[in-house]
C-alpha cells in the first residue's frame, strides 16, 4: 500500500495533520496531490503547545511541511478494496493478452502452435496439425 494511495482514499474523511512546526490541523480532507499538498475543510488549528485554537473554514497546506497525518482506521480497508480490484483487473488482462497474441502466433510462429495444442482442443485452428504433437506428448508422459 502506498502512502499517497491511502491519503487519496481518505479524501472526504476527517483527519489530523501535524506540521513540522508542531501545529496540528483537524479537518476533512478535500483534495491532495502527488506532493502531499492538501486542502482541508472545516479546520481546527491547534498551536504547538496545545492551548490555543483557531477555526478556519478551509486551508491549503504545503506537503513538504507535514510531519504526519492521522487517518481513520476504516480508510485502510477501502484502500485494500481498491488494490484488489486493480490486481483482479491485471489478472484478467494477462490471459486476455496471451490469448489474443496466441491467435496471431498460431499463424506466424510454429512454436506457439504446440503450446496451444497442449492446452487442449480449445484452439480449433491447430487441430489438424496440432493433434499429433499432443498425442505424442501424451505417450511420452
Amino acid at each position: 500500500m502506498l502512502p499517497l494511495s491511502l491519503l487519496k482514499t481518505a479524501q472526504s474523511h476527517p483527519m489530523l495533520v501535524e506540521l513540522k512546526n508542531g501545529e496540528t490541523y483537524n479537518g476533512h480532507l478535500v483534495s491532495c496531490d502527488t506532493w502531499m499538498n492538501i486542502n482541508l475543510r472545516d479546520v481546527i488549528c491547534t498551536s504547538k503547545d496545545g492551548d490555543r485554537f483557531w477555526r478556519m473554514p478551509e486551508c491549503y497546506i504545503r506537503g513538504s511541511t507535514i510531519k504526519y497525518l492521522r487517518i481513520p482506521d476504516e480508510v485502510i480497508d477501502m484502500v485494500k478494496e481498491d488494490a484488489q480490484v486493480k490486481s483482479r483487473n491485471r489478472a484478467e488482462m494477462k490471459p486476455r493478452g496471451g490469448v489474443g497474441g496466441g491467435g496471431q502466433n498460431q499463424r506466424g510462429r510454429s512454436g506457439g502452435r504446440n503450446t496451444f495444442a497442449n492446452r487442449g482442443g480449445g484452439a480449433g485452428r491447430a487441430s489438424s496439425q496440432g493433434n499429433r504433437p499432443l498425442a505424442q506428448g501424451n505417450k511420452i508422459k
Binding site: C32, D33, N37, V43, F53, R55
Partner: protein, 116 residues
C-alpha cells in the same frame, strides 16, 4: 550571430507547442483574488494581505500586508502586535499554509466539549 536568435526563438516556439497541459493545482487561488488571505511561512512568520496575484509555484503578491509578530521568547505564540508591510511578493517555496482570513477566528478548546 544571426542564427542564435532564430534558434532560440524556434526552440521557444517548439517548447510552447510541446508543453503539455499541467495537471491543475489542487488549490485554486483565483477564488481568493482581491480577498484577504492568511499566510504562514516556513520559519514561523505569519502575514495577512489582499491577494493581488499568484503563480503556479505559489509565489504570491499581497497588498496591504500585515505581519503578525511573535514574542521572541515564545516564537510559537503570536503576540498582539502587528507591523505593516504594504505591498509584498511572497516566495512560494517558503509558503506553508494559506487560508482565507474571513472566517478564521480564535476559539476555545473545542476538543474538551467533544469529550463531554
Amino acid at each position: 550571430m544571426s542564427e542564435k536568435p532564430k534558434g532560440s526563438g524556434g526552440g521557444g516556439g517548439g517548447g510552447d507547442n510541446k508543453e503539455k497541459r499541467r495537471k491543475e493545482s489542487i488549490l485554486d487561488l483565483s477564488k481568493y483574488l482581491e480577498k484577504t488571505i492568511r499566510v504562514k511561512f516556513a520559519g514561523g512568520r505569519e502575514a495577512a494581505g489582499v491577494l493581488k496575484g499568484y503563480d503556479p509555484l505559489l509565489n504570491l503578491v499581497l497588498d496591504n500586508t500585515v505581519e503578525y509578530l511573535r514574542d521572541p521568547d515564545e516564537p510559537f505564540k503570536l503576540a498582539e502586535e502587528t507591523r505593516s508591510l504594504g505591498l509584498v511578493v511572497c516566495r512560494g517555496t517558503s509558503v506553508v499554509l494559506i487560508c482565507p482570513q474571513d472566517g478564521m477566528e480564535s476559539i476555545q478548546n473545542p476538543f474538551i466539549a467533544q469529550d463531554n
